[in-house]
């Protein structure tokens, strides 16, 4: 089904909101970046007579942003990264305060917003006045689990709504505070103030903690300190540490090209180190993993422009993994095989893709006591693949494996149970086993009710209820 057909209703609403000259404030929420890639050409072709202007919040100042915003009239202004308003108080407060002036402009303000429940909730609070005059909020989402055709989006789709860091946020902030105080003490101590080994260790800890609480700009300051000192004194290991930090920070900030640049530099540096021990191999594979992940994101944003580079990185990773033995190698084996599946599916080589899938499944089962959420999510995504191919028994088998692992590690994976029972409901419904479908959906609802914040699963609840209603009519 083409993208236009799939999003026909939302596109019709959007076209109406963009029509005419009066001010409109429109939110287009998406969970897969291709929605943005698809929407912009659609708008251009639907409104060929209208001027379209792009604006970005990321790395922008309030002055520059509003000057650009108020300069134009009679045009569609697209803000590509509206979610960044969450991090930019200056623009958030300014726009909110100037809401009335803004609404007198003859512009259509189309804001793309990355779908993240907590973020949207906070944005709506931070810019309450502006949010209240929203004319339209459309969601371009592959929301129902089985509707997504993009295989590599499995983690995005499944992680949606799962609280990642909130429970440790305060603790992490306290840690940072503690380290910052230590740094202050070191600076005031004549004997310690030139102890760069100690300072580097603290800088690294602070940077890592800031990454954990998603304060990437602050993390960057400390990565810079490590980088500057290490490059000035040619301390290669510390240099590699800072490059690794840059890789992660820029990846998280969504600057994938920079992430690739630093990761490539780091892999090159690690290759030149004389002691190629297992730790170095692990770091090299980690570096290439980031390169692969960055290309995945860039391909999503730019319609597979970096397909060749992505494939090259995956195969490089594959050959390094095959040639070396190191601790916890299974993680990389699973990761590289899931990427290989993407490549082979893209090449329509389903046979080879299934072989890779089997390697990944086998490795997961063999290491079921050591694996993480991502591997369970992968099993669920594989199940989706079989479901899409109407191989219901294989799809169910994979969910059963996932369920077994989850049951054996109940505390660790409890939240994933939902994503096992939810798709099971769909599979059974398609198999016309309505009793089991009902049981699975009810189980999913029960899990949602037991969570700390059931409201974040509202979208799943409505889909389940719709499905249950349909099932009840069949019964």
């Amino acid at each position: 089904m083409s993208w236009e057909v799939e999003n026909k209703t939302n596109l019709a609403l959007l076209n109406k909101a963009l029509n005419g000259n009066a001010f409109s404030f429109i939110i287009a929420e998406y969970n897969i970046y291709t929605a943005v890639d698809n929407l912009i050409p659609h708008i251009k072709s639907t409104f060929p007579e209208k001027k379209i202007k792009s604006l970005f919040i990321y790395n922008n100042t309030y002055r520059n942003f509003v000057d650009e915003l108020f300069r134009e009239d009679n045009c569609i202004i697209i803000i590509h990264d509206f979610e960044y308003i969450y991090y930019n108080d200056e623009i958030a407060i300014g726009l909110n305060q100037r809401r009335d002036k803004l609404s007198q402009q003859k512009i259509k303000l189309l804001c793309f917003l990355d779908s993240n429940f907590e973020k949207i909730k906070n944005i709506s609070k931070n810019i309450k006045d502006l949010w209240s005059i929203k004319n339209l909020h459309v969601q371009f989402k592959s929301e129902a689990y089985f509707q997504s055709n993009i295989f590599f989006d499995k983690i995005n789709v499944l992680s949606q709504g799962i609280e990642l860091i909130t429970s440790n946020y305060v603790e992490t902030q306290n840690k940072i505070e503690e380290y910052l105080n230590q740094l202050q003490e070191i600076e005031n101590n004549e004997n310690l103030k030139n102890d760069y080994t100690l300072k580097t260790r603290i800088w690294l800890s602070i940077a890592v903690y800031y990454i954990q609480i998603q304060k990437y700009d602050e993390a960057l300051t400390f990565a810079d300190l490590i980088y500057k000192y290490a490059s000035k004194n040619n301390i290669k290991l510390d240099l590699s540490v800072s490059l690794n930090l840059y890789t992660i920070i820029y990846y998280e900030k969504g600057n994938f090209k920079k992430s690739i640049k630093y990761s490539t530099e780091n892999v090159h540096l690690l290759n030149t180190l004389s002691t190629k021990n297992t730790d170095d191999t692990r770091l090299i594979t980690q570096g290439i993993r980031y390169i692969v992940l960055s290309y995945v994101q860039l391909n999503k944003q730019q319609n597979n422009t970096y397909k060749r580079e992505y494939e090259q990185a995956v195969f490089e990773l594959y050959s390094i993994i095959n040639a070396n033995e190191y601790e916890n190698k299974f993680n990389d084996v699973i990761f590289v095989n899931s990427e290989l599946i993407n490549i082979y599916l893209g090449r329509k080589n389903e046979k080879r893709a299934i072989e890779c899938m089997n390697v990944a499944i086998k490795t997961t089962i063999e290491n079921s006591d050591k694996i993480d959420d991502a591997e369970i999510e992968m099993l669920i995504a594989f199940s989706k693949f079989y479901y899409n191919n109407k191989n219901y028994s294989k799809a169910l088998e994979l969910l059963e494996i996932a369920e077994k692992i989850v049951t054996a590690n109940q505390l660790k994976f409890e939240k994933l149970n939902l994503y096992i029972h939810y798709p099971k409901g769909f599979i059974y419904a398609d198999m016309r086993n309505y009793t089991l479908a009902k049981q699975s959906f009810e189980k999913a609802l029960e899990i949602i009710t037991k969570t700390n914040s059931p409201e974040i699963y509202n979208h799943l609840v409505s889909t389940i209820n719709e499905k249950l209603n349909t099932i009840n009519t069949f019964n």
């Binding site: 609403l13 305060q97 409201e455």
Partner: protein, 325 residues
Amino acid sequence: MEKLLIEANAKGFYINKNWSENVLNDLNSWFAIRTIEIKKLIKGELNIIPKDSILPDLIQKVTGLKVGLSGSVENASTIRRVLKNNFISFAEIFNKFVVDVNYHLVYDESGKYGKEVMFIVDGLEKIMTAELRKRIVIDESNRIKSINANLIFTLPIELMSERQYLSSFSTEKTFPVVKLINRNNSEIKEAIDKFKEFIYNRIDLSLFDSEKTVEKAIKMSGGSPRELLKIIQRASFESDSIIDMNALNKAISELAKEQSRFLTTADITKLKELHKNTQKNIPYDDIEQKLLEQNIIFEYNDGSFKRVNPIIAESEIYRQNVLGG
């Protein structure tokens, strides 16, 4: 104050009035001393009195200080500090000034300018943060009280929780949304008719399939004009030609999904409580305040009668959790 001075000056209130001149002289001296004091304290060269101004001397001084407040943070806080430290003497002179303006208003023969000075402090919601807004209203209340003039403060809804404190020196009046339905569920025809007028002044009746559709849209607005316009706009997006019942129902269902998206378990509990007690008042708390701010519930009468936003009542989550359980 700047506005009042300009208006009074424009109306010629101070021509040949000896007593007025005294009051103005006092005000002028006060601002002159403060200006000298501030100039000594601020860093660098700062001409706080705009050049080439055609306004009289006092207005220039007031405007100058206002311009200074929008300058650097450091200078602005110096100006604020000086004004705060001398507020008691200011209030004394300013109160005389208000009395004087009132005198002129009462004896103005044209009768065009009203009877007394009244200050309206509006747009407080545009102040940067909720914390700052609260500080202005609460921390400055002693200073506000020392001005003897009629003053209307339009409070952002988030500050309504301070109503008990504010009522110790002011009269608190709630401007609720328009009540369309009584507690006993009977419709208030007069209010619905007013809303019809409100719609027809903006949208031609021929753009709706029938008056029934208009009536339903009005009822779904819960008496909030903004909600009503939102519903009609969404219905127009959902329709290919005129707004009919199908388009309206689709709009209601979509808005219900959208607006109920962030409801929490605590919100649902509060909504259940509200649903079970339609005939009586329920105790006020933070959750209720949040629901009011988010237009999840509306208040009517003097604020004592509260109802869920009819759009929220249409949502799946409300039906299942509030009506169903």
